[in-house]
Symmetry: C2
Subunit: 627 residues, 2 copies
């Protein structure tokens, strides 16, 4: 137990919840790692699509990145409003539930659940991939590194969102500072040099043009670049984690993440254009990422370069953390509404929703193991869930403002703009990525949606059976017949029989025989004689009714069958009377005692629970050793 | 359940035990595979040691094989006597227990348990190794084949010893017939040709001499050849499996196995000498086993060769079966004496001791996986356990005859001869193989011995606490206070409260609050009001005492702690009175329902079992859904 304490920290009381809430300082690393990390692969993905244009690609970088930045600005504005309107939780699930109804909310929930799971696997494998491309001799340990990062993120989040935020704050803020600095210096040099800066380390030469520009190519580049936006919605899903004033803290967090991300996207676009950077083929030797070319061009390959690139690695690896903050909170809401299993809504040892955390770890770990840590094929599946959620959230907010009386035209306009732009982007992304893997999401979404509905139906049926009752209406009842099942007399079974006699005047001692196979044939007359001498006679001498002794053979060595048959006979003889089986059970003090016992008490209990009729109750008389 | 039925067959009743017993026909494959299979590697191992002598080795084959065959004859004679004297089970464990005392019997048990486990791993990997050396493209799947063979042998033995014997009888009898035939034909040709037969396919030329003869070399060759004897003791351990007349069936089985093995050893030695066969280096290409050279020399590479070699492969692969027959029966005896966990003594679904079978599978499977299916290094460890057991058994029989009055001098002499020869062989084997791995057995033996003693000590302590009682002595007792733990009122909890009221007039309803974390703060006044209106008032109107309502908060979300504190307070208020906690439990009808429930009833039950005081009893009121 001390090890659990050491790894996860002490168990927190309900009353400590307030102290667990976080401010913007922890929230930026906790919720922003995914969004900020996107800055490293979003522009690169867009430039990769444009690369076949050769030198001409530089002319189009701005055309692709500008709408992405505008889209980000619209999302920022509309999420600001959402967080204000939904201060307990402003995720797409809640917004859609309130404004669009149950089915829309479940679509949003399914979409974002899929996306968060993918984000963990893709984020970690991308980060570790970047690491192993820097240090190629680590290549064979890709999967080990992936699982190790997953373990660190999981443990940090099982300790608490605040702990995870603090732990991951250093790489986050270093990343933000170093790349904002590089962009500012780079842009200043471009301006100072009249658009022709001198790179400290020249980027690789632009490739020869291998294709012509087309609207399809620009759309593909746009949709590839849109991956830069994933993770922006995390703040709205994580509102519940903030300390008071919630709206203020959430706004500040959202502002820091979105403004930094916007500046980084704009800066990378400007520097790519100014310095003539382009995406290289990742599968060829000598590959350098766009951010690496950028840092080398602006700062050379010195200490600044090393620190900046190390922070990129860390941010990528840890971008999974955003999912770990938002996913369990979303699942909790969905579970409270009965669409996910109830354990998702139960706060764990450290007041986080541990079941959600562990579920996410298992699902993402499964993906990592399945793909051996190389999850490149999952990247195309990635942005669809996020943009579907964006759209549901914006449409929900439009409905929200429309129901409110006047004054909200401006707000409605912002969300309507958001809704149209994100839905357009969703269509573009789905169409351009359909063959590359988006179809998987198109199949998985309705499956998950159906599962959520099925879970709710299960709970509804259960509630119909055991819930909804009026006044307590129990007839006065006789004590039940109590059957004490035992294999041989000892102090444990004597205690059990005595306990049964204190509960009911009608006790039957069931001696189970022939459990050990044919060699264990017992002399039943001898047993009956001893019983009379040792049990029945002393009790009668005290003037008490001794329990009736019944010997039951179990010729198939399954105890519960003859016992259930016996109970059936009892039922026909004394109908209406309750029956309880009392099982003496030896309590084991150590785990290593488990293989030393046949544990018949336990298996008898489970068999009776499963196969006993509706009137059968079970009593356990535990025997604890002093040890 | 149907799948279980299909794989393992229907559950057998105790009364079917008689029909499960086997005759010599099934016993030869069931118990003889190990011993007969040794004929393929025993002589080869001896010839490998002699190989450096080149052509001179042929002169010494007889000198090495003759004492081995004499030893086999002595073992045969003495085991015949043992089986006669111990008709229920004549294994070394029983013989040593009866005649040499507890510690000697445990040494024998530990030795034979280690040997049987090694035999499974080594036998299967040797057989599969022979298969993959014939069909080299199967090489990468070595481990898969090993585990598949292990699975087949395990399932056959879980179905029953008779089923395993029938299943494996074809390869066994084909092996015996074909090699006995080859030996007879070969010896006849040697005699007809005056010692210089003409091989149909000439064996590879003898290597040049690379060393000189020495006593040490002969001893090493002898101890290597002794592996041919492992498995001979299996019949004595498996006597319990035979049908009546037991001694007859066992004698016939022992005779068939030992005589066949002796003839094969003599035949191989004679043919090796006559045809000039020698062991080849297994690691070099073009390797042919001695049996393969022999079959080709006598019969050419036709259909006879193919059938004979296929039967060798099958016999080697299945030689593990002998362990599966003898190991569980040995473990059962040891467990009945309290030196192994009790589950080893419980007959399973098919009246075999399934725990022993599964344990052997897991242990041997672990070895196979650990060594990736190549267990060559374990072979040197192999014969020590067997010879230690031989010796213990023989010494025990000597003591046995000495205690009997007169007339047994001849028998005593045979066992004394067996004891001296096997103990001498044991010393030779241990010394010559010590560095190659025998030291592992020398370490493992005392460890297992200590474990067996520790297990018995555990049971002795347990018995001292709960066993050994006199007349039943329970005071008349009041019914206990019953605490019904529940989270919210529903039909399930109402039923539980009604049941509690039928058991005792003193019922306290414990409403557990704040389990769901700080957000679930409940209005206790509202709950008390509803309780009064819906439960207390209707009961009082009937003139019955309603249960007392207590609201217990679990600020750490662990139910058992506040409950145990409450019980402690109760105990000080009403000392001496028993306490029982009644837990309503929803019975799940399907495995997939498990993740849908928090299963608090179950975890509360386990926590109360583990941490409750000696006076705390538990009652389960199960709720079964009609579903």
């Amino acid at each position: 137990m001390n090890l659990v304490h050491l790894i996860f920290g002490r168990r927190l009381a309900n009353s400590e919840m307030e102290g667990r809430r976080i401010s913007w300082f922890e929230a930026v690393p906790a919720m922003g790692l995914d969004g900020l990390g996107s800055a490293s692969y979003g522009p690169e993905a867009a430039l990769t699509i444009l690369a076949p244009l050769g030198a001409a690609s530089l002319a189009y970088v701005g055309w692709v990145m500008a709408p992405i930045i505008v889209l980000l600005a619209i999302l920022y504005m509309s999420y600001r409003q959402t967080v204000l309107a939904y201060q307990t939780n402003g995720g797409a699930y809640t917004v859609a539930k309130d404004n669009l109804g149950r089915h829309a909310s479940l679509v949003a929930a399914a979409a974002i659940m899929i996306d968060y799971t993918l984000n963990v696997a893709v984020g970690i494998s991308a980060g570790v991939g970047a690491l192993t491309s820097t240090l190629p001799h680590l290549q064979p340990y890709t999967l080990h590194f992936c699982l190790a990062v997953l373990a660190v993120v999981t443990i940090a989040n099982l300790r608490g969102t605040r702990e995870a935020g603090l732990l991951f704050s250093a790489p986050t803020y270093v990343f933000m500072a170093s790349f904002l600095g590089l962009c500012v210096v780079g842009v200043a040099r471009i301006l100072a040099s009249g658009g022709h800066p001198h790179p400290i380390v020249a980027p690789p030469p632009l490739p020869h043009a291998a294709g012509a520009i087309s609207a399809w190519l620009l759309l593909k580049a746009f949709s590839a670049g849109c991956t830069a936006m994933t993770g922006v919605e995390a703040v709205s899903n994580g509102v519940g984690a903030f300390k008071e004033p919630v709206a203020d803290q959430a706004h500040r967090t959202l502002t820091i993440i979105c403004v930094t991300l916007g500046l980084l996207l704009a800066g990378v676009a400007a520097l790519a254009h100014g310095y003539g950077l382009t995406a290289m083929d990742q599968t060829k030797p000598g590959y350098q990422s766009v951010l690496s070319q950028l840092a080398a061009a602006v700062a050379g390959r010195g200490a600044v370069y090393d620190v900046a690139m190390a922070s990129v690695l860390a941010v990528l690896c840890l971008s999974a953390n955003t999912s770990f903050v938002a996913f369990p909170r979303l699942c909790r809401l969905v579970a409270e509404d009965g669409f996910l299993p109830r354990p998702f809504a139960i706060p764990g040892r450290r007041l986080v929703f541990s079941v959600g955390v562990v579920f996410l770890t298992v699902a993402a770990g499964g993906l990592l193991i399945l793909f051996k840590g190389i999850t490149d094929r999952l990247i195309p599946l990635f942005a669809i869930g996020a943009f579907l959620t964006f759209t549901m959230s914006q449409v929900g907010m439009v409905a929200h403002w429309r129901r409110q009386s006047g004054h909200n035209r401006a707000r409605l306009a912002i969300n309507a703009a958001g809704a149209s732009v994100t839905s357009a982007a969703l269509v573009v992304i789905t169409v351009t990525k359909f063959v590359a893997g988006a179809w998987i999401v198109v199949l998985a979404l309705p499956a998950l949606f159906g599962l959520l509905l099925a879970i709710r139906r299960y709970y509804d049926r259960l509630d119909a059976q055991i819930g909804c009752i009026g006044p307590f209406a129990a007839d006065e009842r006789q004590p039940p017949t109590i059957l004490v099942a035992f294999e041989g007399r000892n102090r444990m079974t004597d205690r059990a029989i005595a306990f049964a006699m204190s509960l009911s005047p009608d006790v039957i001692a069931i001696h189970l025989t022939r459990l050990e196979g044919p060699d264990e044939e017992e002399d039943s007359r001898a047993f009956r004689h001893t019983w009379k001498e040792q049990v029945a006679d002393p009790l009668e001498a005290q003037g008490r009714t001794p329990p009736r002794l019944v010997l039951l053979a179990a010729p198939l060595r399954q105890i519960h069958k003859p016992l259930l048959e016996f109970i059936d006979k009892l039922d026909t003889r004394t109908p209406g009377r309750g029956v309880a089986v009392l099982i003496p059970e030896l309590v084991l003090n150590h785990w290593w005692e488990i293989p030393l016992h046949a544990r018949r008490a336990d298996s008898l209990r489970h068999a009776l629970l499963a196969h006993g009729g509706t009137r059968l109750n079970l009593i356990t008389s535990p025997w604890r050793r002093s040890d």
